[in-house]
Structure formats: structure tokens, C-alpha cells
């Protein structure tokens, strides 16, 4: 069955007792794309990924992953997906090569191909120097590259990566994303969860998750274009004072400080956002440069994770 989507989920929910970790999630993940899953800690990213690979049984709802129905026997799915757990889950007391060999054996990679495949991965993921090192003694970035190498060793069609970059430095993160793009170009579908905005921005599409509920999805551009908010940027010498001046107005949904700048979110219905901000600043005697700007993903995140009351007020 040819299907444009690697993953289709409808009404997927997972409850742990009273806690609704994931609620009525609908997802469509296109093939060959990098699909981001953005949300703060505890928003249900890991739970969703675990349901999609058959590790957790959904409380409600169904999904179709690479043509396999969830819930159901995920057995034939296993060789076709690669899963990188949030916590490093390879064997710390085995060397890099031993870990790769083990994974190769588990996935029944033919004996004659094993060596070349492992050497290829060691080169690709910059682990040649670590081949005889115990995995447990490596740095965060090295562990992460090993985990990715193990997840892709058997050429999976779908890669599920759960916060792969949470324990690595910025340079390693950039390199890691370069690897993901290379894999996606090769036709692999990648679903990656993150709580970093800059990473979410690199995805072809993304869904934003808040307390188990999907609050937005689309391409980063679509999301940025449809916040329903004016974004006013305020550059002030004294951002604290400026923030105080703006906090009192109920039209102003949110004020976020970024260094010397403030990002002020005001509903689109309001026609004079710059004037409003300027007026408050003048009243408090704050001198600042005020201008309208376009939404960043951070602004999208702030606006979609507001409670309905905050939004409507």
C-alpha cells in the first residue's frame, strides 16, 4: 500500500491513572521529511513516540505506522523503524564496536556486510577514534552519535528520535542536524522531539505539544504566519522598567525579554499595536525603540501555549 504518510494517528490518547499524558492527538507525518515534535518537559513527547513504536498501548485512538495498525502486533514494524531513546540506552560496559556489532546481529545484518557497514558508520559519525572505547566513558556528543549510528544501522524507513540533543553542546547539535538532513535526503522519515526552538525551526513540519494536547501544527513558516498576534519588538536601555510599563495593559498578552529586547504579543484584532506600546512607555517615561516585526517560532510557541483565558482576555 503506497501511502504519502509514514505515520497517521487519530485521537491517540494515553492516560496514566488520572494524568492525561497525551490527549486525542491527530498526526500526519509525511514520508521522507523531518517532523518535529516541540514541547516543554512533561508535555507527552516521549509517551507519544513510545505509543507509535508499540512500547505503550494507547488508552484510546489508533495510529497507522508504515502500514501497521497501532494498537496491534508491532512485530513486523520493529525491523523497519529505528528508535533513539531519550536516555542513552546502549551498553556502557561494551565498546563502541561491540555495541554496533551487537545491534547488527540483532537486526540480522548479513555477516559479510557487517564489517563494512560498521566501518562506514564509524566514519560517518566520527567515531573511528573511539572504536575500542567503552561506550559508558564517552562524552555526551559521542554517545549521541553512537546511538544514532545504532538506530540507523539497519537502514530503517522511519527514525523516531526522542530529544536526541538534550545532552550535547551546540556544535554537536549542528553536526547532528546535518546528519539528519542527510538521512532525510536519503528517503528516511524522521520524527524528532525537542524543546529547542532553533531545532524546531529546521524541521520540515512540526507539531507543538502542550500538556498532552497538540496546540498547533504545520510548517514553521505557516505557524509563524498564523499566530493571530502582532509582534512588537521593544529595544530599551532599561528593559526591566519597560517590562513594568507594559505589564499593566490587558491587551498585551505576553512580554518576553530577550537580552536588551522585549517581544510583546498583542492580538491581531487590535489595530494600533505600536501606538499602544509607545503610549505606555511614554507614560512611564521609558525611552525605547518600538517597531513591528515578524513572528519567530518562539512567539508561536508562547502564543499557542497560552491558556484560552489568557488568549481571549
Amino acid at each position: 500500500m503506497i501511502n504519502d504518510y509514514a505515520i497517521e494517528a487519530s485521537g491517540l490518547s494515553k492516560h496514566f491513572g488520572d494524568l492525561k499524558a497525551v490527549s486525542k492527538l491527530d498526526l500526519k507525518v509525511p514520508r521522507g521529511k523531518i517532523y518535529g515534535f516541540l514541547g516543554p518537559n512533561g508535555s507527552g513527547k516521549s509517551t507519544t513516540i513510545r505509543m507509535l513504536c508499540g512500547l505503550l498501548t494507547p488508552t484510546e485512538g489508533t495510529a497507522n505506522v508504515l502500514g501497521t495498525a497501532i494498537p496491534g502486533s508491532a512485530r513486523e514494524l520493529k525491523p523497519r523503524i529505528g528508535y533513539m531513546t531519550q536516555k542513552f540506552s546502549l551498553f556502557g560496559d561494551m565498546t563502541v564496536v561491540e555495541n554496533l556489532q551487537f545491534i547488527a546481529e540483532i537486526y540480522s545484518v548479513p555477516k559479510k556486510d557487517r564489517r563494512t557497514r560498521i566501518d562506514e558508520l564509524l566514519g560517518k559519525y566520527d567515531l573511528v577514534g573511539q572504536r575500542r572505547q567503552l561506550a559508558g566513558t564517552m562524552s555526551g556528543g559521542q554517545k549521541q552519535r553512537l546511538a544514532l549510528a545504532c538506530a540507523v544501522l539497519h537502514h530503517p524507513e522511519l527514525l523516531l528520535l526522542d530529544e536526541p540533543t538534550s545532552a550535547v553542546d551546540p556544535q554537536s547539535r549542528r553536526d547532528f542536524w546535518a546528519n539528519l538532513f542527510r538521512l532525510a535526503e536519503g528517503g528516511t522519515t524522521i520524527m524528532v522531539s525537542t524543546h529547542y526552538m532553533d531545532e524546531a525551526e529546521r524541521c520540515h513540519r512540526l507539531a507543538i505539544l502542550d500538556r498532552g494536547i497538540k496546540v498547533a501544527d504545520g510548517t514553521p513558516q505557516e505557524l509563524q504566519a498564523s499566530t493571530g498576534m502582532h509582534i512588537v519588538e521593544v529595544t530599551a536601555d532599561d528593559p526591566y522598567q519597560a517590562q513594568e510599563a507594559l505589564d499593566c495593559d490587558e491587551h498585551i498578552r505576553s512580554v518576553t525579554q530577550l537580552g536588551m529586547r522585549l517581544r510583546v504579543l498583542i492580538p491581531e484584532q487590535f489595530s494600533q499595536p505600536v501606538g499602544l506600546v509607545q503610549q505606555h512607555l511614554d507614560e512611564h517615561g521609558v525611552t525605547a525603540d518600538v517597531r513591528l516585526t515578524t513572528a519567530s517560532l518562539e512567539d508561536v510557541f508562547v502564543s499557542v501555549t497560552m491558556s484560552p483565558e489568557e488568549r481571549a482576555a
Partner: protein
């Protein structure tokens, strides 16, 4: 085919990790040897050569014969003859002797009189072992201080097999084998699996094509081999240090042990599906170990236990294993003669394995 190679991959991995785990490796050898030394030497109520003094106030042919026979038992080591019971008291108090024997003037007459004790034993009651020996001595066919059982014959006869329930190493070690294997096999498997869960390895493994059966069997096989190695170790140490006989066939013993090890590994698997942390797994192992020591006939004779305790004991694999090892090693019994015990072990393994397989699903919830 693929399944077999996955199984081999798991076994290889397990062995590789075991080789690097010095602590576990040390325990494989250390637990049997240390336990053997502890139990082999300590659980030994075959008390001999208790320091004894005698106040023979009769000094007749009969009393001297009694002393000679007392000496022959080797239970007592007669170091001194004194004149009065008071002298015995003093030596007891000072700890110079453990037993004092008073033979009264009218010993010859008392022996014939069922109403009066013929001999008085003064005992250092602060040591329970010595008291128990004294009680055994009292049960000899001569009436001592209590005089409750009168002698029926005039000859003073002291039986050398004064301790019919002798717990020499010869009797302890076949049982100890069962206890050691219970502890190590159950603990190693339970901890090995729980550790993988704690470290997150299991989440990775169950997302691969490995099946639950491959995972469980692959984890268990290396430990069967380890159990067999421990068994060899126990037999060698038992032979060298305690001269424990091996009257039956070694092959029979190994077959019996195979069945027993399987039962314990299955139980370890069950524990691993319940325990969330390594600590819990250890606790549950100890919880299972206590009845294995107390109710299996290892410490207390099975026949003397209350009915309920016996029933519990029958459920424990180690009870059956101890019967098997005592039978094979000490009584030269053939494995087939002991088949009910084998059947019991097989049943236990089957039930435990089923329980483990049902509980061990390839899921996290």
C-alpha cells in the same frame, strides 16, 4: 535461523558483560567458597573433646568402667580427677572445664535403683551447644541427675553414636549446595534483567526484532553454565576440605542440578518482572531465600516440622534438590529412583516460566 543468531547475539553480549563485571565474577566464585567455609565449619554440632573433670567418690570397678566408656565416646576429654563436687563447681566457674561428672559413693547401688540418679552431670549452661550435648549424654541408658528414666540393665553401656541427628559437613554440604545455587542463580538473573531495565537498555532491546523468548533464554543460558561451574567448585571444595563423599554418579548429580538451576532461574525471571529496581530484586531474592534455608530440611529435619511448614517446604525447589543431593551423594541412590523430586522441580520450572513469560511482555506499560 534468524532467531537462533539473535539468541547467540544476546548470549555473547551477556558473557562479554559478565567478563567485565568484576563484582559479579567475584561472587560467582566467592559466594560458594565463603559459604562453604562458613557453613561447613560453623554448622557442626558434632561436638568433641569437651574439657571434663570427674569426681569419682565411689572408685569401684563399676565406676571405673563407666569412666572408661565415657572417655571412649570422645565427647569428653577427661583432663582431671578431683575429690569433691565442690572442686568441680569451682573449675566450672573458672571456665577450666565444660562438664563435671560426680560419681557418688553409692554408685553401684544407685545403678540398680530406678528411683535415684546414678551419676550427676554438672554442665556449663552458658553454652547452648554444651547443654545440648549434656542432654544427649543424659539419654544414654544410665540415669543421670534427673533420674526420670531408670536403667533397665545393670551394664553401663555408652553408645558411641550418641548423636543420631549428626550434622557434620557431610550432611550439611549437599544441602548447602542447594542454598548457594538458590541464592546466586535467582539473584543473578533477577538483577541482570532489572539492571537492564533501570539503565534503559531494555527499552532499546524491546524495540528491536528480538522476541521476549530470545531475550529471556539468552539471558538465562550463561547463568546455567555459571551454576554448573559453581557446582563443580562446591564439589571440589567439599571433597578437599570436608571429605564429603560422592557415592552416587556425578552425572546424576549434574542432571539433578540442571533441573534445579532451571527452576531457580525461572524464579529469578519472575522476580525480574515484578521488581522495579535492583534493590527490590535483591530484597525479593532474600525473601525467597529465608524459607529455602529454614523450611527445606537444610537446617531443621523436615519430618519434625509442622504440617503447614512442610507444605510450604514442598513448594520450594531447594527441598527437592536437597533430597536429590543427599540421596545421590550420601546414599548412592540413582536419579531414576528419586524421580518424584525431579518431577516436582520440572513442574515448578514450568509454572514459573509460564508466569514469567506472561508477565514479561515487550511493552513498558
Amino acid at each position: 535461523m534468524k532467531s537462533l543468531s539473535r539468541l547467540l547475539a544476546i548470549i555473547r553480549k551477556e558473557v562479554r558483560q559478565l567478563r567485565r563485571d568484576r563484582l559479579t565474577f567475584g561472587m560467582i566464585v566467592g559466594i560458594p567458597v565463603i559459604q562453604m567455609l562458613l557453613f561447613g565449619y560453623a554448622i557442626n554440632t558434632d561436638v568433641r573433646n569437651l574439657r571434663t573433670a570427674i569426681a569419682d567418690q565411689a572408685n569401684t570397678h563399676l565406676s571405673r568402667q563407666f569412666v572408661a566408656e565415657l572417655r571412649e565416646t570422645q565427647v569428653v576429654d577427661i583432663i582431671e580427677f578431683v575429690d569433691t563436687p565442690a572442686a568441680l563447681d569451682k573449675r566450672l566457674r573458672l571456665g577450666e572445664i565444660s562438664i563435671g561428672v560426680v560419681i557418688p559413693h553409692d554408685f553401684d547401688r544407685r545403678v540398680l535403683d530406678p528411683e535415684r540418679p546414678a551419676v550427676q552431670l554438672l554442665v556449663d549452661g552458658s553454652d547452648p551447644t554444651i547443654s545440648s550435648v549434656a542432654i544427649q549424654l543424659r539419654n544414654m541408658p544410665i540415669a543421670f541427675d534427673t533420674g526420670t528414666s531408670a536403667p533397665r540393665n545393670h551394664n553401663i553401656e555408652i553408645r558411641p553414636n550418641y548423636n543420631p541427628e549428626r550434622r557434620t559437613p557431610v550432611n550439611v554440604i549437599p544441602g548447602l549446595m542447594g542454598i548457594i545455587l538458590t541464592l546466586t542463580m535467582m539473584m543473578f538473573t533477577a538483577v541482570a534483567i532489572v539492571r537492564e531495565r533501570e539503565r534503559g537498555n531494555l527499552e532499546l532491546l524491546i524495540n528491536t526484532p528480538v522476541s521476549s523468548a530470545e531475550l529471556m533464554i539468552g539471558k538465562v543460558i550463561p547463568y546455567i553454565v555459571i551454576g554448573m561451574i559453581q557446582l563443580a567448585l562446591i564439589l571440589v571444595v567439599g571433597d578437599l576440605l570436608f571429605q564429603v563423599p560422592m557415592r552416587g554418579s556425578v552425572l546424576d548429580l549434574y542432571l539433578a542440578s540442571g533441573a534445579f538451576i532451571a527452576a531457580n532461574l525461572a524464579l529469578g525471571l519472575v522476580i525480574s518482572t515484578i521488581a522495579k529496581t535492583q534493590f527490590q530484586a535483591m530484597q525479593m531474592t532474600i525473601f525467597m531465600l529465608m524459607p529455602s534455608i529454614l523450611l527445606s530440611g537444610f537446617v531443621f529435619p523436615f519430618a519434625g516440622m509442622p504440617r503447614f511448614a512442610q507444605l510450604l517446604g514442598e513448594i520450594l525447589p531447594v527441598t527437592h534438590f536437597i533430597r536429590l543431593t543427599r540421596g545421590i551423594m550420601l546414599r548412592e541412590a540413582g536419579l531414576m529412583e528419586l524421580y518424584p523430586e525431579l518431577v516436582a522441580l520440572g513442574l515448578f520450572t514450568l509454572v514459573a516460566m509460564t508466569a514469567a513469560a506472561v508477565r514479561f511482555t515487550k511493552r513498558l506499560d
